[in-house]
Structures are given as C-alpha cells and as structure tokens.
Assembly symmetry: C2
Homo-oligomer: 147 residues x 2
Amino acid sequence: MLDHNKFMDIAYRQALKSYNEGGCPIGAVLVSMDGKILGEGHNMRVQGGNPILHGETSALQNAGRQKSYRNTVMYTSLSPCMMCSGTIVQFKIPHVVIGENVNFGGNEDFLRERGVKVEIMNHQGCIDLMAKFVREKPELWFEDIAE
Amino acid sequence: MLDHNKFMDIAYRQALKSYNEGGCPIGAVLVSMDGKILGEGHNMRVQGGNPILHGETSALQNAGRQKSYRNTVMYTSLSPCMMCSGTIVQFKIPHVVIGENVNFGGNEDFLRERGVKVEIMNHQGCIDLMAKFVREKPELWFEDIAE
C-alpha cells in the first residue's frame, strides 16, 4: 500500500517549485506500485515555453521510456486536464491520485469510465497554492487551459 | 481553404525523417487557417527517449506558447492516439486532418463528439510507411501505444 501523503507531498513540492519560478504551480510524480519514484515534474509552460508539459506529462517525460505502466500510480497536485487524462488512458496507467479538484476538474468520470481508479485527497496545500495562483495570474492560467 | 496535400506532405516528410532515424514514423504539422506553419515535428520516443512526444505533441511543443488554437488545423500522418486526441480537445484545435487510420485509429468519434472536424485522407505514402514500420519493428510500435 503506497503512502499517499508522502507522494502527494512530492507532487505538491514540485508545484511549489514551479510557483516560485513564476510558473503554473502544478506538479506530479509517477510511482511504481512498490514505491519507487519513476519520474516527477511540474508544468513547464513558463519555464520551458512548453505548452504540452503539464505536471503529469512532465513526470512521464522525466520517467523516460517504460515498457509498461500497468504497475504505476500517478500522483498529481491538480485534477488532470483532457490532455493528461487522455495520456493516462493511452499509457494504461491504472490509478491516479489527485491532490484537489476544487480549482479545476471535470475529467474524473472520463477516467473512471475507462477503468482508471481515481482518488481525490482534498490536499489543503494544493488547494491553497492553486487558488493563490489563479487569483494572482488569471491570464496565465487561462492560457494554460486554453480558455 | 488550406491545401491538404501540401500540408500532409509536410507531416509525411516528418514521419519519413523519423523512420530514417530509426524512430516511429509519425509526423504532424500545426498550421494556422491562413496557411502559416506554426510548428512541425515527429515522434521522439527513440530519438529523445521521450514517450510523450508523438507527432502531434511534438508539433505543439515546437509551435511554443500560443494564446489560442481556435484558428489552427492539425495535420497528422496517423490517426491520433488517446493522448493526442485529448490534447487536441484540451487545446480546442477545431480541425484535424489525418493521413491514414488503416494502421491505427479509433478516436475519431471521440474527437467528433467534442466538436472537432475530422478528415481522413487515405494518404498512400502514410499508409505504406506505417505498415512497413509495424512489420519491421512491432515491439517498438507496441511500446509506443502501450500494448
């Protein structure tokens, strides 16, 4: 049984690092079911001028090539957007643990309908950090979700 | 009206470049509706050790940050996987032109149901190149689609 608090804290620290760099504060970590960290990362829109590196895709990029994801869990500070939800389904990642879906969400059912186990932690640090970011930089946030 | 043959040939040449480098032969180009190329690219699993750079996401990465994608068309040599289909929906790209869906497909309805215009060209060069690749390197192809 993985320690959700431990791994969500890693995703949260990635989000906080990105916030402190002036970027979108969303982080993620891909963990094998035996507790090994395969890759972690954060949104790179600002830092890399890169629109496809969200927390989840950044963690997957940093994990590199894997033969299979069937034995992995994705921890993400914020509920996955449609790009990242599609990625989770395509890669057949069976389990996603979400820090919060107060500030953004809506794809949880898409994931569940395709057999992904979805858990939502209501992590107060994730909620507060994201709310602060949306308040401070609404234009950057809307750009990131193509609103 | 965009010249589909012209832009699909660019996607195909990206696919061929990747094939010649030993990679997965799938390419894409993002074009504005007035015919300007915003970004092009190909699958980077082999060349970059990068599992999230498919043709479409590579083109989007190379296009960099955009305020909006509402005035763009994605040309891709192969029908988009779930990651790339989710990305197209998330980014609100309104129109996708697909080289072929003989060797891989299945997400066309997902795109159409979300308002994306989908056209399939049955481009013989794309069909033949992809078929050759799947025949020559089935393990690499199955890794790319997480089979």
